[in-house]
């Protein structure tokens, strides 16, 4: 029986240093850490790609004054029923596991697009060849730049449920860019939670940081994300954000239990908000602030892992 870590673990190959920034709990500072680390690598002359995988709420590009480069539509298959060929036999309706089709009597099926995942089963099972392919846009893969930093951001259209196709497209685009651009570093900002899109993001990278906060909520969620990471064969290093607002022992206890290390403590810092408001990363906007200095220390620890 193949274990998860055997099936997963498909990080991008070669000499590229890949790092996910995740956490489980929302609002701990994943994007802040991911963006600032990416900027620091860039300022030190590394070729960096930042990938925003929080496709239901992408934020990384908002933390910077970015220049928009291009966007690609992410489309999925959508069935079009050809009335002249459809015999209203109902086979596709019965076989559709998403229950996205209903059969009005004697007429071609009606589609509920918001339930359709675009699997093409209806087209495959139709005995009359009455299903044709249309494409439906569910999101975008956008590209931006910030000084020397390249950014890829996946975005699901509001009210769409199927984030999978957007994530698959992000991955494909990232692989293409990595192939043609000889990046040294790829940093992936994941969504909060432990659902499959977080797994897809974590899977792109060999290394991970789990960002948390020193509260019982942070500790509880950290353990969950660490269990997910372990299932994937990844051992994240832990970053405690807002470290002076709470009890870091709550986090250290979880880390000891899960056999991971705390690699950084970032203090709560009002300078971060001032920099947010101006869309300037704190390491550029307020480099002598406590949070910037802690992030630089984190950067130096991470950089030691990068072969160049």
């Amino acid at each position: 029986m193949l274990g998860y870590a055997d099936c997963y673990g498909d990080p991008m190959g070669g000499e590229v240093f890949t790092l996910s920034v995740t956490g489980g709990k929302g609002g701990t500072g994943k994007s802040t850490v991911a963006v600032n680390l990416a900027v620091l690598f860039m300022l030190d002359g590394y070729r960096v790609l930042l990938v925003d995988c929080d496709v239901c709420a992408p934020n990384a590009a908002l933390l910077l004054e970015t220049t928009f480069k291009e966007k690609r539509e992410v489309t999925i298959f959508s069935p079009r029923f050809v009335a002249s060929k459809c015999s209203a036999c109902g086979v596709c309706v019965n076989r559709c596991r998403a229950h996205a089709l209903i059969q009005p009597e004697g007429k071609p099926p009606l589609l509920f697009p918001e339930l359709c995942k675009g699997c093409k089963l209806c087209m495959l099972v139709c005995p009359a060849g009455a299903v044709e392919e249309e494409r439906r846009t569910v999101g975008f893969v956008k590209e931006f730049s910030y000084k020397g930093l390249d950014i890829v951001s996946g975005e699901l259209l509001p009210n769409e449920k199927e984030a999978g196709p957007v994530m698959v497209s992000v991955r494909r685009r990232v692989e293409k860019l990595v192939e043609s651009n000889s990046y040294d570093v790829v940093i992936v900002d994941t969504a909060p939670g432990i659902h499959c899109e977080v797994v897809r993001a974590l899977e792109m990278t060999r290394n991970a940081l789990a960002v948390t906060e020193p509260t019982p909520l942070g500790a509880y969620d950290l353990e969950i994300i660490l269990r997910l990471a372990s299932l994937l064969g990844v051992r994240p290093s832990v970053v405690i954000n807002k470290a002076d607002v709470g009890d870091v022992n709550l986090i250290r206890d979880v880390c000891e239990k899960m056999k991971v290390d705390v690699v950084a403590e970032i203090p709560f810092d009002v300078h971060l908000f001032a920099c947010y408001a101006k869309s300037v990363p704190v390491v550029i906007g307020c480099p002598s602030s406590p949070s910037a200095r802690a992030i630089v220390k984190l950067y130096e620890a991470v950089r030691r892992e990068v072969k160049r």
């Binding site: 934020n59 995942k117 093409k120 495959l124 099972v125 432990i194 509880y220 997910l228």
Partner: protein
């Protein structure tokens, strides 16, 4: 029965903080309450409300494909046709990566050897907890490595409604998930009122807009709480304008308040620990609106 859902788009802006305190306030004022934790990836509500486990059951809402290796002819058709990238080729074998499998059945349909079966699998837990204050707390937890958070959210809400019905409860408070994806859509669906928690940062406003489009899609009336408004007071009017344009109301502005952290560290709702702290006063203003809905 009023079903109040607390969502935000942006994570970490205070949904659980607000939900816990609203549930506590309602209960302490004599309303019959049921709390529900719809953040099934990382449920936290039980930490602030206390949660003694009454019963737990496993949920199987997810369908996954299984390839029988002994019957497999290794033709690769399943791999070719999978629209979700969930079948991989590993050392000559075709293997389903369960977490990405959508259970659509295409692989089963195209397999010439009948080697693929679609099976219902366990993907989470449903829990009935008793809060410290006596009212029920229904929570869900997605299995680590599992998928299908949206359906687990629906199970949590269905159970909460069932329990509320049986108990003749007047209020269900649903602590929603972060994001504006499938779990958030499930959480908002069928609610009587959406309480949107936000903060005055660019990222939070952007995510608020996404959640607002879901709320509007369902036609759910909504109100907004601006948390930690003092971190960037200049942005508050922008948010207020957005809210007004979308047909909602700003119910309260909560300042940053150390008592929130203290209460969280002490594993209790802030209105219980410090009823007259600035954050508590703001939450009480929100509760006034909830009470108006309850009294109608």
């Amino acid at each position: 029965m009023i079903e109040l859902v607390v969502v935000s788009g942006k994570g970490g802006v205070g949904k659980t903080t607000v939900s816990a305190s609203i549930a506590f306030l309602a209960s302490s004022k004599g309303y019959s309450v049921v709390a529900a934790d719809a953040d099934v990836d990382a449920p936290n509500l039980h930490i602030l409300l206390g949660g003694e486990l009454v019963w737990e059951k496993s949920l199987a809402t997810s369908e996954k494909a299984y390839i029988d290796r002994s019957a497999c002819e290794r033709c690769g058709k399943c791999y070719e046709h999978c629209a979700f990238g969930s079948i991989r080729k590993l050392s000559g074998e075709y293997v389903v990566t369960p977490v990405y499998c959508e259970g659509c059945g295409v692989c089963e349909a195209v397999c010439p050897a009948n080697a693929v079966k679609i099976k219902l699998v366990e993907n989470g837990r449903l829990r009935f907890l008793r809060s410290r204050f006596g009212f029920p707390l229904i929570a869900g937890q997605l299995d680590v490595g599992g998928s299908g958070s949206g359906k687990i959210v629906s199970e949590v809400k269905d159970e909460a409604r069932k329990v509320a019905c049986q108990a003749e409860a007047s209020l269900v408070v649903v602590d929603g998930p972060p994001g504006a994806g499938c779990p958030a859509i499930s959480a908002i669906s069928g609610s009587s009122y959406a309480l949107l928690v936000t903060e005055p940062t660019r990222a939070a406003k952007h995510d608020l807009e996404r959640v607002l489009s879901i709320v509007n899609h369902f036609g759910t009336p909504f109100g907004v709480v601006i948390n930690r408004f003092d971190i960037h007071p200049e942005a508050v009017s922008e948010i207020a304008l957005l809210v007004e344009n979308m047909g909602g109301e700003v119910l309260a502005m909560m300042p940053s308040d150390e008592e929130v952290v203290r209460a969280t560290l002490n594993r209790q709702p802030v209105v219980e620990r410090s009823p007259s702290s600035p954050a508590s006063e703001a939450i009480k203003e929100v509760f006034n609106r909830v009470e108006e809905l309850l009294e109608r």
